[in-house]
């Protein structure tokens, strides 16, 4: 055991540098994944009053669901409330950029669209905005993933991804699961 404390520390220093390198590589991979794969968590810091959002404006009931504006931008608005998503089913087109905008009138909720990168908290007081592109058609499960009270387990909605040909907005630019 001809290891003295000085050479032990030198060994450790070498190891520490190597581990610093490992950390740098991890960091690079994370940044690459974040930028390159367009994984951008909601960070829009946009406020909305939870007590009045249902009365008028963007999150009034007749504005919810999927809407295509005159410029062709597709936005899906959902209100998460104890203990349901409004609406409980939304339609989105395949292979096109979709923006989700979500707000809560009561407590914290959260959602994940299973099998996609759509995952966000919905914090009362703020609008959560998530962009994504769905690459496969089908019915996707969208459960609430933050404990919001005794009915939390029943809070499940669906995202229906349809081929572009089947994505037909009505005269107001709306698309719903019923039509």
């Amino acid at each position: 055991m001809a290891v003295d404390e000085i050479s032990a520390v030198q060994n450790e220093r070498r190891w520490a540098l190597a581990m610093g390198g490992v950390a740098a590589v991890m960091l690079a991979a994370i940044v690459w994944a974040g930028l390159g794969l367009h994984m951008n968590p909601p960070s829009n810091i946009e406020t909305v009053d939870p007590n009045t959002l249902h009365v008028a404006g963007e999150f009034a009931e007749n504005n919810l669901g999927t809407h295509v504006d005159s410029a062709g931008k597709i936005t899906t608005r959902i209100v998460t409330t104890q203990f349901a998503f409004v609406p409980e089913c939304v339609v989105v087109p395949q292979d096109m950029q979709v923006t989700f905008r979500l707000a809560s009138p009561d407590v914290i909720h959260g959602l994940i669209v299973v099998g996609t990168n759509v995952n966000t908290m919905v914090v009362p007081g703020f609008v959560s905005q998530v962009h994504t592109v769905f690459d496969k058609p089908g019915d996707l499960l969208m459960p609430c993933h933050e404990f919001c009270g005794l009915g939390h387990g029943q809070m499940v909605a669906h995202v229906r991804v349809v081929p572009i040909a089947d994505f037909r907005p009505d005269g107001d630019g709306r698309v719903t699961c019923d039509n």
């Binding site: 968590p41 914290i108 994940i112 007081g125 993933h145 404990f147």
Partner: protein
Amino acid sequence: MTINNRLILAHLWTAFAAFGVAILLGLWQMWVRSPLAAPLSTPDNYYLSVTAHGSAMAYVLTTFFIMGFGYFVAESALKQALPAPRLAWAGFVLGIVGTVLVVATVLSGQASVMFTFYPPLSASPLFYIGLVLVVVGSWIWCALMIVAMTRWKKANPGTPVPLAMYATVANAILWLWTTVGVAAELLFVVIPAAFGWTQTVDVGLTRTLFSWTLHAIVYFWLIPAYIAFYTMAPQAAGGRLFSDLMARGSFILFLLCGLPVGLHHLFMDPEHSSGFKTVQMMLTVLVAVPTLLTVFTVTASMEIGGRLRGGKGLLGWIGALPWERPMVLATGLSFFMLWFGGFGGLINMSYGMNAMVHNTSWVSAHFHMIFGGSVVIMYFAIAYHIWPNLTGRLAPSLVLQRAQLWLWAIGMMVMSLPWHWLGLSGQVRRVAQFDYADPSISWWAPWMIMSVVGGGMLVISAGMFIWNLVSFHFERTGAAKPGPVEYARALHPGVPVPAALNGFVLWNAFVLVLMAAAYTYPIAQFFILKPPQAVVHRVDRTP
């Protein structure tokens, strides 16, 4: 020999009693979530149980264990009596009163808000007051640890503080910093709302204050395990601590890097910018460094033991280690689980990849593997290691101790490995029941049953653990007396320790700077932005 054995045993037995009850709840929760029909399965009972399980494991087991172990280290490593043992008892009583309040409010259904209690959900004020009392009790412990070290330094000028105590004080200081966030949240927002003095809360602010605590608390839980890695495992293996200086460096890095990273719990939140999330993500990557340093130093220290025992060749020393000693075995099993837990954590902390797993079973899997696995198995090993000292009796059976440790590690893998892929497949956490008739999730069923089996193994292991400790107390004191607990000596003792690595003044200044940089704006923004507040939702009464 330690003097205040009753004080230490009172803390440790409180910790393990809470653990013994909480683990039964955990098994029942797995059962409810599985396709098997569980008794008493209602959402009310489930959320009550999850709150009790989380609070008992995360707050009671940990805090009482860490305090009891700290008192033990202060007496056995410094070889001096504890300063003000009466104050220590006062801290213990505060903690017990707090625990009773928490248990009573949770069991009576007035506090089903989870151990994370995110407002605007609000429980009975007594639940939060109970938590505050536990924290205040632990603050007394922090003060006593600092005083013990300071006194020892005065009495032994020029001698470095023994590593076990230096690390314990690092943890006490870390804990003082850590609890600032949750204390502010509770005292200024949550408790006034619970009493009905305020009707609304700023939800973003409360989440941000809680995030201040939520990461560093994990290091508070973890440091006792690291103390055992550095100072007990090499000794048990017949080795030497490879480098005392680098060990000190690792504990300082935990103190520095463990705190300014809490926003990584809010990656998926809308109330913070990408900028601050990214800054704290980068700091989070740094916390991997002290863990990797530890893996290196501890492995090298064990290698010395293996080689001194005649192990040859590149890996021959591993076989030569005394695996029959529970401390050595537990360290090996803990390191093994650390790889899985560490890998899971790597995904969690990745700004983008987190979106695949946030709030899914993946997260539960990660913290069960790393806390329930790597850390708690070392709590067991520490208990086995110091119980002879505390009771004055030799271990009744090392075979049972080893069997218990193996069963724990295997049970933890069987339970939490399936959660990883179920989480990746979209299984969310904290949901009482799933509709297994839904064809998209029916394939979960066998994996959920596997988790129940793993949970059953953990319950049996926990029962064996309690039995192993209880049987010490009934063992007859024979002629053979246990010697005092010895801490691993450095490979080359007597190396001068720089003053910076023998105290904390400098490092506290660093923490202050880092926390100011990481959290000033993320907290201040709520006072600048003044976001609309949310109405308080009581869970303990119908509106």
